[in-house]
């Protein structure tokens, strides 16, 4: 997938989505007054509120809503399991599109956008920023990713907790193939630092229904481990376990005020954007 294509998809999706809304709650938000800030050398002098200066003889800048600069960091899971796809769309492709859409959307809302890809460790990190070329860098990184290793949330989230200096919105896009404890431990740490967290749980339809019939050797895409499986023996038990996993995640996240959305790769990406907007609104 070329970056241009990714950008085009993102733009098409986002603009179509935005245009479809009857009333944008965010139109004109950039002219709403938000707060004052003391002038610092280097600030644009045109933004100095001269009325305040007249009254108090101090230089203050008048800041508007649109300039609060929410930082959006997308955590994209690039573990081997994300490469799975029962149909035409692999989970990683679905995740790529969502990540691209969110980056595009946020960037054009003048939010700072960043990207962190991970598997067992942090693979790449583009800190959130609004500088020009940021979107291109993010899209380029999204395009470059190649899923390979296993999933482990612990290390990447600890890294993030240590190095994330400013709070913002963290969007986790992953199939969450890790123990709920490991996932929640990291997320809670981030939440505690005042970040809003939104988890998009990407799952393939086959992972949710396990419709296999014939006995076969199943190979784990993350660790290449093989297992002879007779689906009819395992289906019921497997579905019970995975549903339990999802239910636990949903419950734990709900308890920690983390937005959780289970996304089936057969569903359109709109849902992801709705969830995002809801979360973003919440974060302001």
């Amino acid at each position: 997938m070329k970056i241009q294509n990714l950008e085009l998809i993102a733009r098409t999706v986002v603009e179509g989505f935005v245009n479809g809304l009857h009333k944008s709650p965010y139109l004109g938000f950039s002219v709403d007054f938000a707060e004052y800030r003391q002038y610092m050398p280097g600030d644009d002098i045109r933004r100095i509120d001269w009325n305040v200066y007249g009254r108090s003889d101090r230089l203050y800048l008048k800041l508007y809503e649109g300039e609060t600069n929410t930082r959006v960091l997308i955590l994209l899971d690039v573990s081997g399991s994300m490469n799975y796809g029962s149909g035409e769309v692999k989970k990683i492709d679905y995740a790529r599109i969502i990540a691209a859409c969110l980056s595009y959307f946020s960037y054009h809302q003048r939010d700072g956008v960043g990207l962190l890809t991970f598997d067992t460790d942090v693979r790449s990190h583009i800190p959130a920023s609004r500088r020009s070329g940021q979107l291109f860098n993010i899209l380029a990184e999204i395009d470059r990713i190649e899923p390979a290793k296993e999933t482990a949330f612990k290390k990447p989230l600890r890294f993030l907790a240590e190095f994330l200096s400013r709070r913002g919105l963290i969007v986790v896009i992953s199939d969450l193939y890790d123990e709920p404890e490991n996932i929640m431990a990291g997320l809670k740490q981030l939440k505690a630092k005042g970040n809003d967290i939104m988890v998009l749980h990407i799952m393939d339809n086959f992972e949710l229904t396990f419709p296999f019939m014939d006995a076969a050797q199943f190979e784990d895409m993350e660790n290449k481990r093989k297992m002879h499986i007779i689906p009819e023996y395992l289906r019921t038990q497997y579905l019970a376990i995975i549903n339990d996993h999802i239910a636990r995640l949903r419950k734990e996240m709900s308890g920690s005020r983390i937005d959780y959305t289970l996304m089936d790769t057969t569903k359109p990406v709109d849902e992801a954007l709705f969830s995002y907007l809801a979360a973003r609104e919440h974060s302001h």
Binding site: Y84, Q217, E219, D220
Partner: protein
């Protein structure tokens, strides 16, 4: 437990099919890439195991059903003894078959046989009974079945090796009869033999030993035996009219050893004196012929012996006996019609050389007396018109005692009378003059029996030709029933007719021998033809050079009624009773050697040899032999060797298939139940 239809067990191969499919599919199962086995690995093993066990149980049930069906079709039956109490006791009936054929004289074979027999007798249990059966070409019981070991040992001591061949079938037949007399719970047959292959003829043999008889054998055969023997000796002819024997004695020497040739000196002795000797080489498992001739013979019967000086363990077949009869010159009486030169060519033919073994006497018919006729070996009736009744009757009698008669019919013959002579092998019709009756100058003798000995010279020499003679006239004749036409003219009419076997000893020639009706006497073929005819007529009753042991030897009465007897090689005399003129009686020798046969004042010697086939020590596997003579259970049933009680018992033993079928049904019900449960759960 045994099976009636064991071939159905091949059906059990079907059991392997589902297992093979399972294994093949498992080997070739495809690989499915899946995001993560994390949750699959969390599935409790117990759940999988339960499912697996359920499926394994189903598979095992299905295999069991198949196996049970296969077993029920194979018709199992129980073979254990139905009377365990009886089986437990020592109540055995044992028949010991002991081979005392001539081949058992090989080395120490017969001593080994006795040792083995003694060992078997000593090993008898308290309730056991044993019968000893000696067999060669026939089988003989050495006393009744008994438990008395001393009696058995005594009977065994009397057993000696015989000179006879081997026949297993007779021995097994007798053993079966002995078993039927012994009411024993267990029957045991022990064969002690060298298991010569010659003793068994597979064809047209039934299995005689019951399926319940336990068989054992003791094989005394020697591996790769060393034996050179005389298979047979051909003595042709066995009668000589000259001092020096001009016939041929041909001995067939066989080397039974298969790995190396042998060189042996071979000699012929006459009446105990060595006459000639040579050395021959015989290839491994090969035969070499040794030919002897030119030795002198005294008047009368001579005892001949061919001997090879081979150092092998079987000595008996190194000697072969034969008898030769040297007679005075062949006495030929020519009876003619008394016309001048009528018998001129005939007399010349037999007396042209002093070396010829013929003494010819030519007498006109009117001078002949019946007594005179009996003094000659051969009588030639040379174109006489008819025979007086007494002469005719005397000739008929003499033919029975071995006299040969040649009847020549020509211009003098009264065809009507000869036609009425019923003993003549030909019916005469009329005199045929070729030029007048057939419209041609002459006919030739063109067709003759090439296998008959009177035409032997014409077969061996290209210079002699019967068809060179021209026949201008002859007496028309046709063969009577049983008679044989030996030669024919080119137009198909007979020239020489031989009498039937029942009234042998007469030949009829239907043209003259005086150069009037034909030019045969002027041709080279005349002499050999009439020599051979007379020679042939003189010895149709000659004794053979030798007889095989067990073969019937004919003893024929002479001119007068007389007592007949045989003196065997041990000097024992066996009377054959009174023999009337021409009456034949047979005696069968039991020992090899020279036998003297005395009929009245006449004495002749015959040589008797043991069967040469015994020299061939090739072994038949004892297992094959026993398998050939022992009935299978199925054969026993088919042959009706079971009484009603046995049949019921037998039927009861075969009901096992019902149980197998019942178990298969139960397994089927269980399978349906488990499969339904598993399916519904899924």
């Amino acid at each position: 437990m045994s099976l009636l239809n064991p071939y159905f067990l091949f059906g059990s191969l079907a059991l392997a099919v589902p297992v093979l499919i399972h294994l093949v599919r498992r080997e070739k199962s495809e690989i499915v890439l899946f995001s993560s086995l994390m949750f699959l690995l969390k599935v409790p093993k117990q759940a999988i195991r339960q499912q697996k066990i359920k499926n394994l149980l189903l598979m095992a049930l299905r295999l069991l059903i198949l196996a049970l069906l296969v077993m029920s079709f194979a018709r199992p039956y129980l073979t254990q003894n139905t009377n365990p109490a009886a089986a437990a006791t020592n109540n055995r009936g044992i028949v010991l078959l002991l081979d005392n054929s001539y081949s058992m004289r090989y080395g120490s074979n017969f001593d080994r046989l006795k040792t083995e027999a003694r060992r078997r007798i000593d090993a008898m249990g308290s309730g056991d009974r044993m019968a000893l059966v000696a067999f060669n070409e026939s089988a003989t019981m050495l006393g009744q079945p008994t438990a008395d070991k001393n009696a058995l040992r005594a009977a065994l001591d009397t057993l000696e090796p015989s000179y006879s061949g081997t026949r297993y079938y007779e021995a097994f037949t007798l053993a079966d009869r002995v078993f039927s007399q012994m009411a024993s719970a267990q029957r045991q047959l022990v064969i002690v033999s060298d298991f010569q292959r010659n003793g068994w003829n597979r064809s047209s043999r039934e299995s005689v030993i019951g399926s319940d008889v336990k068989t054992e054998f003791m094989n005394l055969a020697v591996e790769n035996p060393t034996n050179v023997g005389i298979d047979s000796v051909s003595v042709e002819p066995a009668v000589s009219f000259a001092r020096t024997y001009t016939g041929r004695v041909i001995a067939r020497i066989h080397n039974h050893r298969k790995d190396q040739p042998v060189t042996v000196p071979i000699s012929v002795s006459i009446n105990g004196k060595e006459a000639t000797r040579k050395t021959i080489m015989v290839a491994p498992n090969g035969t070499t012929l040794a030919e002897f001739t030119g030795f002198d013979l005294p008047i009368g019967f001579s005892k001949g012996r061919v001997r090879i000086e081979a150092d092998d363990p079987l000595k008996l077949d190194n000697d072969f006996l034969f008898a030769l009869d040297r007679r005075e010159k062949l006495s030929v009486l020519v009876v003619d019609a008394g016309r001048a030169r009528q018998s001129f060519f005939l007399r010349q033919a037999y007396t042209s050389s002093p070396d010829l073994p013929y003494a010819v006497n030519v007498t006109p018919l009117q001078n002949i007396t019946p007594e005179e006729l009996g003094k000659h070996d051969v009588v030639v009736l040379n174109d006489v018109p008819r025979l007086p009744d007494r002469i005719r009757d005397r000739l008929d009698e003499l033919r029975k005692t071995g006299q040969g008669q040649l009847v020549i019919l020509g211009e003098n013959a009264d065809t009507g009378w000869w036609n009425s002579y019923a003993k003549l092998p030909a019916k005469t019709t009329q005199k045929i003059f070729v030029a007048k009756d057939r419209g041609r100058s002459s006919v030739a003798l063109t067709t003759y029996d090439h296998n008959h000995s009177i035409f032997k010279p014409f077969e061996t020499s290209t210079k002699l030709a019967l068809n060179s003679a021209q026949f201008f006239a002859y007496v028309g004749m046709e063969a009577r029933p049983g008679a044989t036409v030996l030669a024919k003219f080119e137009d198909g009419s007979p020239v020489i007719i031989e009498s039937a076997k029942e009234d042998h000893g007469m030949l009829v020639f239907n043209s003259t021998v005086d150069n009037k009706w034909n030019d045969l006497p002027l041709k080279p073929s005349f002499l050999p033809l009439f020599h051979e005819m007379v020679s042939y007529l003189s010895r149709y009753n000659e004794s053979q050079g030798w007889y095989a042991l067990g073969e019937g030897i004919p003893v024929v009465g002479g001119l007068e009624s007389a007592a007949a007897a045989v003196i065997d090689p041990n000097g024992d005399r066996q009377s054959l009773g009174q023999l009337s003129s021409g009456q034949a009686r047979f005696f069968t020798p039991t020992t090899p050697g020279f036998h003297e046969i005395r009929v009245g004042p006449d004495t002749r010697v015959v040589a008797v040899n043991p069967p040469a086939a015994e020299s061939n020590l090739e072994v038949m596997p004892p297992e094959d032999l026993i398998a050939s003579v022992q009935r299978t259970q199925g054969e026993s049933q088919k042959a009706g060797f079971f009484d009603e009680e046995d049949r019921q018992e037998y039927a009861r033993h075969q009901t096992g298939w019902w149980y197998f079928l019942l178990f298969a049904l139960l397994a089927g019900i269980a399978e349906i139940y488990i499969a339904n449960r598993a399916y519904n759960k899924a």
